[in-house]
Structures are given as structure tokens and as C-alpha cells.
Symmetry: C2
Subunit: 201 residues, 2 copies
């Protein structure tokens, strides 16, 4: 079997589960070699660092170069804006964390309301935990249903959330408005950051 190279570009203040959800699934694919790619080997504490990554030319250029030869180009959560900054979502249907979907036009993408959006070889997933569903779906594409199902069973992915609050259409209004207020500053930072990226020569 030829080697299956899977690369994760990580950066300071990464949201851990955006990365480790898909990593846990995809590292169990037969023949998969995982490449965890970062500018330094310093520990990467969790946080909300995508907005800095968007303006990091080295990171964005790396993603653009790799995308040219990649079978799949994918993102989880607001990682979509890293693809976007690299010009990879232009004219594509895409998604991102629910609180940021209205910013997708800033990178030339059209928001499609779904947990996982496939447009050609570009696959974007919604917020954080959507990365697990995304990874199982791509595992099935790559290695077949039987392999994906055995990975799902190995991680006992039989979700039973205690509440039905994980989607903005069904979450209680209180949860939604609490977060919307909290995200406003972050959304402003994304807008500013993307504005600078696309204004620069």
C-alpha cells in the first residue's frame, strides 16, 4: 500500500480539539503517516489563535503551496479562514464555526449550511467537534466504509450529548446570546485581519 500522508498545520493558541478530533480518527487509517507541522516545536497551548495564523505569511504560503499538490484540502472550525487567506476558498461552497459563517464572503466563499461541506477536493467542517464527523467521512472516502466503521467503534463514537444545545438553530436562546456577545470581539478581529490580508499587495 502506498503511504497516505496526512498533514496538520498547527500554530500558537490552537483550539486543541479542532486538531485532536480528526487526528485521532485519521491516525488510525491503515498506512497513514501523520505530519504535524508547526513553525516551532514549542508547546502549543490551547486558545483562539487562528486569527493570528491568518496574518502569518509563512503559514498561509505553506498551506497554499501544499494545497497545489494535495488530494484533499480541508479545514475544521475557523481554520477555514486560513484556507481562505491562501485563496483556496474563492468561489467555493464552504462552512466554518457557526458564529463566523457570515464572514465567509470575505474570502470569496459561499456559506453552505451543513456540518461538513465538500466542494471538489476542498472540504470544510463546522466548529470544533465537527472535525470528528468530518474525519470519519473522509476516512470512508479514503479507505472504505468498513475501515471507517471500525475506527468509529474503536473510539466508541456513539455520541450522547446531555443536551440538544450544539446547533445554533436548536440551542436555548440564552446560550446563544451569551456566546454571540462573547464572540463579537473575536469576529471583529477576524474582520480586521482578513481586511488587512486582502488589502496587502
Amino acid at each position: 500500500m502506498s503511504q497516505l500522508n496526512i498533514g496538520f498545520v498547527i500554530f500558537p493558541q490552537l483550539t486543541q480539539l479542532d486538531f485532536t478530533g480528526p487526528l485521532q480518527v485519521l491516525s488510525r487509517l491503515p498506512g497513514a503517516a501523520m505530519h504535524i507541522i508547526a513553525k516551532s516545536d514549542a508547546p502549543v497551548p490551547g486558545g483562539f489563535g487562528v486569527v493570528q495564523a491568518i496574518e502569518d505569511r509563512e503559514t498561509v504560503e505553506f498551506v497554499r503551496r501544499q494545497a497545489a499538490g494535495a488530494k484533499y484540502v480541508t479545514s475544521v472550525c475557523t481554520g477555514a479562514f486560513v484556507l481562505g487567506a491562501a485563496g483556496l476558498l474563492k468561489g467555493r461552497r464552504a462552512t466554518t464555526h457557526w458564529a463566523y459563517t457570515d464572514l465567509l464572503p470575505m474570502v470569496g466563499a459561499v456559506h453552505e449550511k451543513a456540518r461538513i461541506v465538500k466542494d471538489g477536493n476542498v472540504i470544510t467542517a463546522g466548529g470544533v467537534t465537527s472535525g470528528i464527523d468530518f474525519a470519519l467521512s473522509i476516512a470512508a472516502d479514503i479507505a472504505g466504509t468498513a475501515v471507517a466503521q471500525s475506527i468509529q467503534l474503536s473510539i466508541e463514537y456513539d455520541p450522547a450529548p446531555p443536551f440538544d444545545a450544539g446547533h445554533p438553530d436548536r440551542a436555548p436562546e440564552a446560550a446563544k446570546s451569551r456566546l454571540t456577545a462573547r464572540y463579537e470581539r473575536s469576529r471583529e478581529a477576524y474582520r480586521a485581519s482578513l481586511g488587512r490580508v486582502f488589502a496587502s499587495p
Copy 2:
């Protein structure tokens, strides 16, 4: 608000998602201080290292000492056997990864068939991804339903697995038998390891 101290004992060859699923949920609790506890600050690659942790006296002793003053004593996946090696599951109802539940009597526990099992202040969760459900449930206990729901929404936890293969009762027979064969050696290692722990003076 008094500080909420949450400790994660990690060790070499940790299954990343066992740790980062709950971490991502619990780190969003108001006033929470996360303590990631390891014997060294060397990077911790993913793997199947619980079986070594069980026989590491320092780790097990640490867990036993901390448990004495803890409000909750919890585990995800086969982490249950670390609690077990520390004597913390004796006479308790508990669970672990589905492929290892029949080993629970070796640590004096009675398996209860559920994704999350609470017995007093000891909470054990099933395999890997069950840690997310577990963490949301304990988040609600600690900080109330409204907070837990807003955390669930912030991580967009509206799971949509592509297959219904995450529970051994419903997974296709092929997935189950493929894994059962693969786990046999690991189960043997757990049996041997627990045998040595409980045989030693």
C-alpha cells in the same frame, strides 16, 4: 468565585482524544484552572500507554493521594484501570472502553453498561469520545445547565456520525471482530499488568 481546580494526569503514549475532549469542554468552565500533570514535560505522543501507567507507582500513588481530597474522581476510556490500580474502584459501579469492560472485576469494580457511570463521586466514562459527553455532564453539575449548554454550543457539539457503528451492540459484525482480534494482545497486557499490581506487596 472560588477557583475550580481541574487536574489531568497524563503519561507517555496517551490517547490524545481521551484527554483533549474533556479538556476542551472543562477549560471553558468559568473560573476553571486546568492542571496538566505529567512526570516530565517531554512531548507526549499518542498511543496506548495506559497499561504502562498502571504499573507506574509514582503515577498511581499520585492519583490515590489526590483522590483523597478531590470532589470528583474521574476517568475516560481505560484510564479506569489507573483509578482501579489505585484502589479507587473497589466495590464501585464503573465503565471503561467497551473492549475492556470484562476486566473491571480485576480491580474490584462491577461493570455497569452505560456511556457514563456515576457512583458517588467516582465517575467513569466509556471509550475515547465518551469523554466529551462525560465532561458536558459534569460541567452541568458544577456550573449549571445554562453554562454547559453554552459550552456545548461553543464547540458546536451537534454530532452527526456518518455511520451507526460507535457502539458494540450496533456496529457491523465485521468492524467488531476486526477490532476484537486486534485488541486481544492489548487485553492480555492489561491482564498481566493488573495481575502484577495486585500481586505485589
